[in-house]
Symmetry: C2
Subunit: 217 residues, 2 copies
DNA sequence: CGGTTAATTGAACGCATTCAACACGAGTGG
DNA sequence: CCACTCGTGTTGAATGCGTTCAATTAACCG
């Protein structure tokens, strides 16, 4: 099996020419400005979404205003595929985005399309695995480890030396179950140990991969 | 409301005579003693499981020995349905269990069986929703709230006054991302406020539903 | 009963939060 | 060009929640 992408990378860009085609054919492309809502929490879920460009985040806000970020989705990623009748998390454009939107009915009409079925199954698998990892992280990792894990997972998807952080500290904190202050402290700490280096707040480079890996645990 | 099960209860026993039939026909029934492994972490996932009687828990242990409980499964629940090639969590019999085990290949042969497909989809949906709720809980709730939520969710699935706790404090703690001591303290606290009452360590009764609900947030 | 494990309670500690002040960067207008 | 502002990020000090370590009590089982 000669793959253009790494099976071990849980979120690497996937080769999906046929899939892209299917999505382009069945759905329509929509643009979203930075910080606008793609769908709301508890909204009916009869669409399926695919990121063409930009970054999307999913969030849930509790009655008393506490916020939890579910995940971040990058170009090529499918999202909004909760199996139930409505979205338990809202989806928002983190940056300006191009999204392909497909009605589930349209998808169903194409059920049997092996390529498409496989892609949805694969996306569901990734979604679950990421959710499971998230649970372990929030349940059993320290702030330092969470931040390290986070930087790792972001650095892994961009193989360039310099890594771009599309989200601000608040989004990181709400994803990691921490406060912005703690995130900030951990970042300066990791930088102090020369494990990572931040030339600017939204850009970093990993200096000691093994050390970061060890921390990500 | 006189239902054998409650639609609002996300994990209530579901009426599934036809489904039970399908499982019994396709798979074989296996018994597991208390505290024995059903499948291991990172084991190949080519089976599907259904609890006939008893309670199952899924766990993941990190390299350095920290443990996270994924979920608990009761009679009627499907588990082990991770979409990927192997189990990211181990499954263990919490109590003595009767389990129906089905090979995925056998399931696939029956693909198209509407009843079966629907059941698997439904189980996957529940799995994801529970995972999402778990993330929010671990990310944003206090120890007190976590314990309250937990008692709530268990009390909901048994409509009798007296509720049986099948798991010990360590399992609760590892599910909630806490220590046994903290769990214990929160339980005595809630009992002190007469919100719940523990006649014995493994048995309790909810006294103030609204208060508990408010806490579960 | 004793023997063993599980659960509770207490006291001290430490990690993350909270509250507050300060720094930085980008955009705007004098 | 600098002053000003506004949003975002960093840093400091104090507090507090949950943990850790240790001792005690309760439940279970022969």
């Amino acid at each position: 099996m000669t793959l253009a992408y790494d099976m071990n990378d849980p979120r690497g860009a996937r080769p999906a020419s046929a899939l892209t085609d299917a999505f382009e054919r069945l759905g329509k492309r929509v643009s979203f400005d930075r910080e606008t809502e793609i769908y709301a929490q508890d909204e009916e879920a009869d669409m399926l979404y695919r990121v063409v460009s930009g970054v999307v985040r999913t969030t849930r806000v509790t009655l008393d205003g506490r916020r939890q970020v579910g995940d971040f989705y990058y170009a090529g990623d499918l999202f909004g595929l909760e199996v139930g009748p409505d979205h338990r998390f809202a989806a928002e454009a983190l940056t300006d985005c191009e999204i392909t939107v497909v009605r589930r009915a349209a998808m169903r009409a194409f059920a049997g399309d092996a390529e498409l079925d496989r892609a949805i199954l694969e996306a569901t698998r990734l979604e679950m695995e990421r959710l499971q990892d998230h649970v372990v992280m929030l349940g059993r990792k320290s702030a330092r480890e969470r931040v390290a894990s986070f930087l790792m997972s972001i650095a892994q998807r961009q193989d360039e030396g310099q890594v771009e952080l599309p989200m601000g500290r608040q989004d990181m904190a709400d994803y990691l179950g921490l406060t912005i202050e703690t995130v900030s402290r951990m970042l300066t700490q990791l930088q102090g140990e020369a494990i990572v280096e931040f030339p600017s707040t939204r850009r970093f480079q990993v200096r000691k991969w093994t050390a970061l890996e060890a921390l990500a645990a």
